[in-house]
Amino acid sequence: MPAAAIQTEHLTRRYGARRGVENVSISIPEGSLYGFLGPNGAGKTTTIRVLLGFLRATSGSALILGHDCWRRGHTVRAQVGAIPGDLRLWPWMTGLSALRLFGRIRGLDLLSRGRQLADELELDLNVRVRAMSRGTRQKLGLILALAHNPCILILDEPTTGLDPLIQDRLRAILKRLTSAGHTVFFSSHTLAEVEAICDRVAIVRQGRIVADSTLADLQRQAGHEVTISFKPGAPLPTPPDFLTIDESSPHFWKGRICGDVAPLLSFLAAAPVDDVTISRPDLEALFRRFYESPEQGA
């Protein structure tokens, strides 16, 4: 089993009486693209702030590459490229001066790699930040996060403000990095982009992890969505225990089953069925289910 690049154990962070995150345990193997999903205020940014050493955990631990994120924050950050959710940069900087400055602070030459990334993301490095649009600033933030070729990327809603073409390019860059062994922690509330690129996803709700698995596993755990239309006039059978009916009309059932579909097929064989569909829920439906239910929605 590959070593954990990012690991939290029973991580709890409170802001006085206010909840931040509660008992968050995640383990992200090296080389994975990990989606961290949740609506606004769920605790995504708090988790990231603890990982970057901005906040001290109230209890529990947060480790990156085996280093404690608070005590060894500077060592951790040397290996990490990060972009905050609401990126602000110093208005007097240009892209080039930012690369020079960050290079000097990190003790690295970031110019050549920065220029390469700027070409890929179509950024003019001579424009001052104060003259940049939100999306352009985001591109510069991404370049600064990627230019030192970090082992780990912590990205808080990184596609904010980017046009679809650049979003695709960013996804391509991230996939290329993970296939080269880099680890990406990708926080988002946009389901589609997580579904498109992440191989593993955690869903955070009200500060707690309500699911942490591969997308395939999550969909498997979530079972199947079933719609059944019965022949008009035929007597309706009694719904079986393994089928949860969400919606019903005289000749139509819509529901879901957990586990194997074999009992359902046996049931259907004996019922006056006109039409049937059995499908896996997409991430959107899965996500909504996790959020709508106070307990684990699956």
């Binding site: 940014t45 924050g73 500077h74 609401d86």
Partner: protein, 271 residues
């Protein structure tokens, strides 16, 4: 220290210093040029009514009956409220940037995501501030020097004594700057840090002014930072004010240490 961080800090402090430095030099030059011309009117008891004399002594912090006119006017120039306010304002503006102003501006996330310890960041910020501070305080001396070139040589002050006053002013500036660093390290809002520094420095000015005029103020005057800055004493005696320098230096070091500890240990939240 980190050269990149010093460069970043300088990029923000230098423009402010380029405004304050020349302004202070110009005012110091103007005071150095104008005040000696009216030295007799300021210093001679027969020209000044008692109330005005008392106000003059309040500004200087001591009874100046035995002082010579030249010492009085140069002491007035170096403790002139405009000079002191500008010096304090520069210290306050430049020392309330990290973390409070960065949190307000939203750039703290980028700054603190860099692979340096907070202490190293703080030391680098302090180094950049010191570089600019030396230039700004030096401008007061340079202005005074330039202004007195245009007056009669017999009215000119002893510049070795003015240098001692300059060191005393620098020590007081450092104490105010470190107070601003400490207030800023504890706060998420620059405005709050600035208000605290302004209240304490204005309180100091007021206390210093009241000291010769109001008996109760004498008992608490040691709490005023200006109690440890007496240009007239230096001009009269020529001696280094070691006790005052020690108090101001000790205060500055204590506040700087406190600020560095708070900054290293505090949580950074922007939401």
């Amino acid at each position: 220290m980190n050269l990149g961080l010093i460069q970043r800090a300088l990029r923000e402090i230098v423009p402010v210093s380029l405004v304050f430095g020349p302004l202070l030099a110009a005012i110091a030059a103007l005071l150095g040029f104008a005040l000696p011309r009216i030295a007799n009117r300021i210093a001679n008891p027969s020209f000044l009514p008692p109330a005005a004399r008392q106000l003059r002594d309040s500004l200087l912090g001591i009874d100046t009956t035995s002082a010579n006119p030249s010492d009085i006017v140069f002491a007035l120039a170096w403790s002139h409220p405009v000079i002191l306010i500008l010096v304090f304002a520069h210290a306050t503006i430049t020392c309330t940037r990290v973390p409070a102003a960065e949190i307000e501006r939203g750039t703290i996330d980028v700054l603190f995501a860099l692979p340096v310890t907070r202490l190293r960041l703080f030391v680098s910020e302090t180094a950049a501030w010191f570089m600019c501070a030396a230039c700004v305080i030096g401008c007061v001396y340079a202005g005074s020097f330039i202004g007195t070139r245009f007056i009669s040589p017999n009215l000119r002050p002893d510049f070795s004594r003015l240098f001692v006053i300059l060191v005393n002013l620098a020590a007081m500036y450092c104490a105010v700057g470190c107070l601003a660093l400490a207030a800023c390290a504890c706060s998420d809002r620059r405005g709050r840090a600035v208000i605290l520094v302004v209240v304490l420095t204005v309180g100091s000015l007021l206390l210093n002014f009241l000291e010769p005029l109001w008996e109760p103020a004498k008992h608490v005057s040691f709490m005023s930072i200006l109690h440890y800055y007496r240009p007239i004493n230096v001009l009269m005696s020529g001696a280094w004010p070691w006790r005052d320098l020690a108090v101001l230096g000790g205060l500055a070091i204590s506040l700087w240490t406190f600020a560095s500890i708070v900054l290293s240990r505090r949580d950074i939240t922007t939401t």
